[in-house]
Symmetry: none
Subunit: 160 residues, 2 copies
Amino acid sequence: MLAFCGQDRILIDANGRLKLPPKLIEDFLAEGDGDIVMYCLPEGAIALYPEAVFHEMRNRAEDAVREAGMSILKRRDFRRFGAWSCAAKITTQGRLTLPTGFREPAALPPGTDAIIVGVEIGAEIWNWNRWQSELELMQQHELTRGDIEMAQALKGTSPQ
Amino acid sequence: MLAFCGQDRILIDANGRLKLPPKLIEDFLAEGDGDIVMYCLPEGAIALYPEAVFHEMRNRAEDAVREAGMSILKRRDFRRFGAWSCAAKITTQGRLTLPTGFREPAALPPGTDAIIVGVEIGAEIWNWNRWQSELELMQQHELTRGDIEMAQALKGTSPQ
DNA sequence: GTTGATTTTGGAATAAATTGGATTATATTG
DNA sequence: CAATATAATCCAATTTATTCCAAAATCAAC
């Protein structure tokens, strides 16, 4: 069955915890035993990936550590991903606690309604309003692309 | 489980000591028994690396010593890392004392709130304001990159 | 070299916050 | 409409943070 898909409303409780939808719990348990990585995205949402997926995303070059000693740029790369990632395990009740440092940038304070979205390789937790804007943005982008494609198809047309 | 990640507020006590977050204590104990190296970064923060990581970082080429005799640059390199690094061991209570010489350059005097950040290969202790600036910088950079990617996706559109 | 004062370090106690489990309520399915 | 599954709430247990104190070490003066 297709994993990591769909949208669900979730509640962030008074302690910054949330209960994952049953379907997603299954998906995360199936891939990596419920060990996940939370990653706070620049877009202002929190991504959840099975640990293996995140490692694949971050697999580093052999001499990365050595470079870190000599390069500010390299350190910044480590810094960005280190600062905005956090390992966790889904509890027996399917719950997850959002790291305190992620709540404000993601606009997900305790006691709010939020949305969790399947993203094929994992899931993302969004502030409700931000999710609406993101949908809008994606929609516009696709439509614009459609227009461009149509125009280009015409250009390539020659009288038969 | 993913090591050296996340952000935590910490307090530098009246004696220049701090207590590491439990998660980081575990990470440092797992890698090298709590033996660490503090390194005062040019960015103005204090990096903490497991001793093994620091050695890998400073792993010197065979002829490095000979070069030191010939090159001012090389000598400066040794000098910088020598002067700004310091071995330490995490205490039974998970505490660490900042070297007095590091406190001013890192803007971490006794009695201040600070931030400790996981950086994948270790951790960094930052003055709160400096960390905000660093975050801002990284965030802007990422968002700009995102915009450019979106624009290029449109430009490059062609019937597939 | 010895004594006294001061700083530093390690440990323990207390207070606060977090976590996990259980229970109750609500919704969904057949 | 009953049975099951899911959601929400509450409370106890544990963990973590903070403060305080005593021992040790360092330094200074005599």
